[in-house]
C-alpha cells in the first residue's frame, strides 16, 4: 500500500501549506494520488483518508473557504499540527519509559514517547527487564470523558449497577479516579441531583457529550476519598478485638496504635471498622483466631452470624 502512504503524506503536506482551505475538488485536482476520474470513488477515498488522519491526531479542520463563500474547505493549521516544545530531560524520559513499561501501556503510547524523545533530542535509556509491573488498564471512554471534563460539557451514558437494569444518566464529569484496580467517573449526577461515582466498566455502550462546552462551572475540589472509599479504613468507628499470636501482626495493620498483651499470649487491639460489611467479613475470615470484644452490638452481630453458619452443618 505504498500508494496510499504516499497519498496521505502528500495530503498532509498540501493541507498544511495551503494559504486558504482547499475544497474537496481542489484536493482531487491538485494533490498527487487523488486524480480519480470517478467522483464517487474519490469521495470514498478522501473520506477514509480524513478519518484515518484525524484518528492519528492530525488536526484536520473544516473551514469556510473564505468570508464571502459558503463553500467548505480543509486545512491543517501548522500551529495545531506541530508538537509544542516540551523539552523533557533525560531523567524524565527514562522515568516515563519505565512508567509505560510497568503499566503495560507501551503499545498505546510508545509513539508518543518517541515524539517526546525527538523533541528532547535525547533517547530514553533502554531499561532492563521490568522489575515492577502494575495490572493497570487505561480507562475505557477516556478520550470523551477527559475532553468533556476539560471543556466542561455534560456526558450521557447508560449505566448498569450490579443486578439492576441499565438506566440513562447525565453527568457533569468532575474527575477520573483509579482505586483498588477500578476506574471511576466522579461527577454531578443530574438525575439524582448529587455527586456520585460511576464504575467505568459498568457503563453500557458509548459515552456521548450531552451539552455545550462551558455548561457547568469549574467543579469544587473533589475529595476523592468521600466518593470512592479509600483502601485504608478511615471512619471514626472502632472496635476492640483480641487476636491469636499467629494473626496478631496481620490485625496490627488495621489497628489504631499498638497492641496490648492479653490472656493466653493473645494481643488486644483497637481497630478501625470502616465499612461494616467489609469489617464483618474480615473478622469472620479470621475464624477462631480473632474475637471481637466490643462494642457489644458488633460482637452480638458476629455471634449471630456464626450461629447461623454453625446451624448449616448436619
Amino acid at each position: 500500500m505504498t500508494e496510499r502512504l504516499e497519498r496521505l503524506l502528500n495530503l498532509v503536506i498540501a493541507l498544511r501549506e495551503t494559504r486558504r482551505p482547499m475544497t474537496a475538488e481542489e484536493v482531487r485536482r491538485r494533490v498527487a494520488g487523488y486524480g480519480q476520474p470517478d467522483h464517487e470513488a474519490f469521495r470514498r477515498m478522501f473520506e477514509r483518508d480524513k478519518a484515518d488522519l484525524r484518528a492519528l491526531g492530525v488536526p484536520l479542520e473544516t473551514r469556510r473557504v473564505d468570508r464571502w463563500s459558503d463553500l467548505q474547505g480543509y486545512r491543517i493549521d501548522p500551529r495545531h499540527y506541530d508538537l509544542p516544545e516540551v523539552r523533557l530531560d533525560r531523567d524524565e524520559l527514562a522515568a516515563l519509559a519505565l512508567a509505560l513499561q510497568a503499566t503495560g501501556l507501551v503499545d498505546e503510547a510508545g509513539v508518543g514517547l518517541l515524539k517526546l524523545e525527538v523533541d528532547a533530542g535525547e533517547a530514553a535509556p533502554h531499561s532492563p527487564r521490568p522489575v515492577v509491573g502494575v495490572a493497570f488498564e487505561a480507562p475505557p471512554h477516556r478520550e470523551v470523558l477527559l475532553a468533556a471534563q476539560l471543556t466542561r460539557a455534560p456526558v450521557r451514558f447508560r449505566y448498569r449497577p450490579p443486578g439492576r437494569e441499565p438506566s440513562a444518566r447525565t453527568v457533569d464529569p468532575h474527575a477520573l479516579v483509579h482505586r483498588r484496580g477500578r476506574w471511576y467517573l466522579v461527577g454531578h449526577d443530574h438525575d439524582r441531583g448529587e455527586s456520585r461515582a460511576f464504575r467505568l466498566d459498568r457503563i453500557a455502550g458509548k459515552v456521548t457529550m450531552a451539552g455545550e462546552p462551558g455548561a457547568f462551572p469549574p467543579p469544587p475540589a473533589v475529595d476523592v476519598d468521600d466518593v470512592v472509599p479509600a483502601p485504608a479504613p478511615g471512619g471514626p468507628e472502632t472496635a476492640e478485638v483480641v487476636a491469636a499470636p499467629e494473626v496478631a501482626w496481620l490485625v496490627a495493620r488495621r489497628a489504631r496504635g499498638g497492641g496490648r498483651p492479653d490472656a493466653g499470649g493473645w494481643t488486644a487491639y483497637t481497630v478501625a471498622v470502616g465499612d461494616r460489611g467489609d469489617f464483618l467479613r474480615w473478622v469472620l475470615e479470621l475464624g477462631p483466631d480473632l474475637e471481637v470484644r466490643g462494642p457489644a452490638e458488633l460482637r452480638a452481630e458476629v455471634v449471630e452470624r456464626l450461629q447461623r453458619a454453625a446451624g448449616g452443618g448436619r
Binding site: 515492577v132 477462631p288 454453625a310 446451624g311
Partner: protein, 332 residues
C-alpha cells in the same frame, strides 16, 4: 520490527522520524534504525516514498529529497515536517496516566522526575483536545485534568526494599501467612518482580519452600529480610498476573452468589459463571477447603454453597470453633 507495519503505522513513524533526520543531517543508518525500531530495508523504503512527496505542483523545487549514501541518511526540503506531530489526546493522556500511576508508588525513586514530566505533559494536554477549546476562567489558568490514580495498598511499605532485592537478584527471607492455609511459614524466595493488581501488591518469585514459582501478597508478609545471597538472574519466565491457579485434581465447588458477593466471581479464578436473575452461580476448584470455608463464612448470607456438602459442614465446623471462643469469653 517483527511484523510489517501497517500504512498508518508507517505514516506515524515517518512523521516522527523526519523531524529528527532534519535535525541530524548525515546520521548513520545504524543510529536511525536503532532509534526508530526499523530495519535498513524498511528505512530505505520509507525514504523512497518520501522522495515522491512534496508540495502540489511536484516540480523540481517542490519534492522532498531523501536518500541513503553509503552509510549516511539525508533528508532535505521537508521543512513542513520540522516538528513531530503533536501528541494525540489518547497518547498524551496515556503517558500522563502512566506517570501518575507510578509517581505515587513508594518503590519508585524516579518519582521526582515523573512529577516534573507530569507537569509538562499536563500543559500539552490542552493542546491535544481537538476542536473544542478548553474552557478556562482566565487565560493563564493551567489546564489541569482531574485524574487520580491511587495504587496505595496495605503492605506497600515493603516495596522499596523488595525492589532493590529484585534489581540486585538477592534472596529474601519472609515470614508469610498464606491465604489458603491460614498458617504462617518462613520462606526463602528468589525474587523476580513486583506486581500490583486489584488493590494489592505481590512479590513474585521462586519459592524454595515449595520449590516453584509463587506470588506473595505484601500485606501478608510479616517480616522481611533481604539477604546477601545473590542468585543467578538468568532467564525467568514471564509471570502471569497474580491469581490463584487451580489444578485438575482439586475439589470442585459450586456457589450461588447474590449481588453483594458478585465480586468473588471477578476476584477468584472461576471455571464457569451463569446468572439467574440476581444470583450468579460460579464453579471453581480449590485444593484448600479451609480457605474456601473461611471465604464462605465471611460472606454470610450473600453466598449459598451448592456443592459439595462437605464444604457446608466445614463452614459450620469453623463457625462452631469460632463460637466456642466467644462462649468462653461470655462466661462468668
Amino acid at each position: 520490527m517483527s511484523r510489517p507495519a501497517s500504512t498508518l503505522q508507517r505514516l506515524e513513524r515517518i512523521l516522527t522520524m523526519v523531524p529528527w533526520l532534519l535535525d541530524h543531517p548525515g546520521a548513520s543508518v545504524e543510529e536511525v534504525t536503532a532509534r526508530f525500531g526499523l530495519s535498513r530495508d524498511e528505512l530505505s523504503s520509507d525514504l523512497d516514498i518520501l522522495g515522491y512527496c512534496g508540495l502540489p505542483g511536484y516540480g523540481g523545487g517542490d519534492l522532498v529529497e531523501a536518500w541513503i549514501v553509503g552509510d549516511r541518511v539525508t533528508v532535505r526540503m521537508a521543512d513542513f515536517f520540522s516538528r513531530p506531530l503533536r501528541l494525540s489526546l489518547r497518547e498524551a493522556l496515556t503517558l500522563l496516566l502512566a506517570a501518575r500511576a507510578l509517581s505515587g508508588v513508594a518503590a519508585f525513586p524516579e518519582s521526582p522526575a515523573l512529577a516534573t514530566a507530569e507537569r509538562k505533559l499536563t500543559d500539552l494536554l490542552g493542546a491535544s483536545v481537538a476542536e473544542a477549546p478548553v474552557r478556562r476562567e482566565r487565560d493563564d489558568e493551567p489546564v489541569s485534568p482531574r485524574i487520580a490514580v491511587d495504587l496505595r495498598a496495605q503492605g506497600d511499605e515493603h516495596l522499596p526494599a523488595l525492589r532493590e532485592a529484585v534489581v540486585e537478584g538477592r534472596v529474601v527471607r519472609i515470614t508469610y501467612r498464606s491465604a489458603s492455609k491460614a498458617e504462617v511459614t518462613r520462606r526463602e524466595v528468589e525474587p523476580w518482580g513486583l506486581s500490583g493488581s486489584l488493590g494489592s501488591w505481590y512479590l513474585q518469585g521462586y519459592c524454595r519452600l515449595v520449590q516453584g514459582p509463587r506470588d506473595f501478597r505484601l500485606d501478608r508478609i510479616r517480616d522481611l529480610e533481604v539477604t546477601d545471597e545473590v542468585t543467578d538472574a538468568g532467564e525467568r519466565p514471564a509471570l502471569p498476573p497474580p491469581a490463584y491457579q487451580p489444578a485438575e485434581h482439586h475439589e470442585q465447588v459450586v456457589l450461588d452468589l447474590d449481588v453483594r458477593a458478585w465480586w468473588v466471581a471477578e476476584w477468584a479464578v472461576v471455571e464457569d459463571a451463569t446468572d439467574r436473575g440476581d444470583v450468579r452461580r460460579v464453579t471453581l476448584r480449590t485444593g484448600e477447603r479451609e480457605w474456601i470455608a473461611r471465604l464462605v463464612l465471611g460472606l454470610g448470607d450473600a453466598v449459598r454453597v451448592v456443592e459439595p456438602p462437605e464444604l457446608t459442614e466445614a463452614v459450620a465446623a469453623l463457625a462452631r470453633r469460632t463460637l466456642a471462643r466467644y462462649r468462653a469469653g461470655d462466661g462468668p
